[in-house]
């Protein structure tokens, strides 16, 4: 039996806006994936711990508070430390274009800014696992 793609959708930091994360969680489910949604106020440690135990293929983080430059790389770093650098890491939210190169350097495979369709995200995941 083929494996089902497992995705961790996480809300790191104190940002409470979860409309996007929830819409994406639903879209991924509708695309046949198993989505583990962490809820709000996740620390990098909690995100990584969940990613490891759930053995996810993808970690998708949503953040609209501007704290992405410090939080995203932390998550990447912790995952690397645990030997889990085969996990696809993507992010989205309110992230200015000029921050994207830095984040990609740090290990985020792609950043999905406002206006991205759920289809694009599904296709990206399927094409990059």
């Amino acid at each position: 039996m083929e494996g089902i793609i497992r995705v961790l959708v996480a809300k790191p930091g104190l940002d409470g806006h979860d409309r996007g994360a929830k819409v994406i969680a639903r879209a991924l489910r509708d695309a046949g994936m198993e989505v583990i949604y962490t809820g709000l106020r996740q620390t990098p440690e909690q995100i990584v711990s969940a990613a490891i135990q759930e053995d996810v293929d993808v970690v998708a983080m949503s953040i609209l508070s501007g704290a992405h430059n410090s939080i995203f790389p932390k998550v990447v770093g912790l995952l690397k430390k645990q030997g889990a650098d085969d996990i696809l890491i993507i992010g989205g939210g309110v992230i200015p274009n000029e921050d994207i190169p830095y984040l990609k350097e740090q290990g985020i495979k792609e950043i999905f800014t406002p206006g991205t369709t759920t289809k694009e995200i599904v296709e990206f995941i399927r094409g990059n696992i």
Binding site: M1, E2, G3, I4, R6, A25, R26, L28, R29, D30, A31, G32, M33, E34, V35, I36, Y37, T38, G39, Q42, E45, Q46, S49, A50, I52, Q53, E54, D55, Q82, G83, A84
Partner: protein, 317 residues
């Protein structure tokens, strides 16, 4: 990664990987499980069932928190329904247990029911075995709350805990008799709400009517959100365990469970083989057409498909 070695060292990632392999029916994973199987059988399994909205996740979280005080290692398998249309699932039980994410002695795994061909049984029992080998002293299986798979999963447990909420009223009658008969402990959650005493009375009355029991299930009033009587609930689990161990019931129960498990695994495997055969060359679809056109009937169709399997076996001799 050397899963075999690492899982015995208590490496969480190795345990997680093994569960994934088994969930997918991966041959490598199955080989590892076969090899390490003798090391399992130590964990005590508690099945947590109850309708959606009864607060199962929060209650499980509080129970585990209580158990951690005794220094035990605990595994939690949280099951959510897979969409029959898309094959996907949103697994949200972990949210209620956020605080446990960082506990060294806790391992939480979310699983979808994955339905037909996915096999609830294989996935769940495999995950249980992996957690067992990993070193869990207790494993909580938190189920979806409705449906036939409910009864199946719960049969895997050593103790079955049913979570209810006050004012279930007619729902108690409506609950499949199958469930009520296999419950070992009743916990009325949100017991601070009106109607809690009435619900307890109703359950007790049902127990009076429906069963000859060697062990009458206790009916507890708890509150996960207010942390009421969680310690008593844990004590009752210990009590039930002690009772079952002292009377050898536990061993018989597990033998019975494993018997059912073996049959279910055989069923799933056979079904998979037959289904694959039937899909090959569109046999199944053609038969369905013929039945609808009354060119053949359901029973002959059944026999035709079974003959495919047997033919296969015959050919292999």
């Amino acid at each position: 990664m050397d899963i075999e070695k690492k899982i015995l060292e208590g490496d969480k990632r190795a345990c997680a990987r093994l569960i994934t392999l088994l969930e997918n029916g991966n041959e490598e994973g199955i080989q590892i499980l076969k090899k390490l199987y003798p090391r399992s059988g130590n964990a005590y399994v508690i099945g947590v069932t109850g309708s959606p909205g009864s607060g199962k996740s929060t209650l499980t979280y509080k129970m585990v928190k209580e158990l951690l005080k005794t220094g035990k290692k605990v595994g939690i398998i949280a099951i959510d329904p897979t969409s029959p249309f898309t094959g996907g699932a949103i697994l949200g039980d972990r949210i209620r247990m956020n605080e446990l994410s960082l506990e060294k002695n806790v391992f939480i795994r979310s699983m979808g029911t994955r339905g037909f061909l996915g096999g609830t049984s294989r996935a769940t029992t495999s995950a249980m075995a992996a957690l067992d080998i990993f070193g869990c002293d207790y494993i909580f299986i938190e189920t979806v709350g409705v449906g036939q798979s409910e009864v199946e999963i719960v049969r895997l447990a050593d103790t079955v805990l049913m979570v209810m909420v006050p004012n279930m009223g007619d729902d108690i009658q409506a609950i499949k008799a199958g469930i009520l008969e296999i419950v070992d402990i009743f916990a009325i959650n949100k017991s601070d709400l009106d109607g809690s005493d009435k619900t307890k009375l109703e359950i007790e009355m049902n127990l009076d009517l429906n069963r000859e029991m060697d062990y009458r299930p206790p009916v507890l009033q708890v509150s996960a959100s207010k942390n009421t009587n969680i310690d008593i609930l844990i004590d009752e689990i210990f009590e039930h365990r002690k009772y079952q161990e002292n009377t050898n019931i536990l061993r018989d129960r597990r033998i019975n469970n494993n018997k059912e498990e073996i049959i279910k695994l055989v069923e799933e495997e056979l079904l998979k083989i037959i289904y694959n055969k039937a899909i090959e060359g569109d046999v199944l679809r053609e038969l369905a057409h013929k039945v609808t056109n009354r060119e053949t009937n359901l029973y002959d169709a059944r026999d035709k498909i079974i003959s495919l399997l047997i033919k296969n076996k015959k050919e292999s001799f």
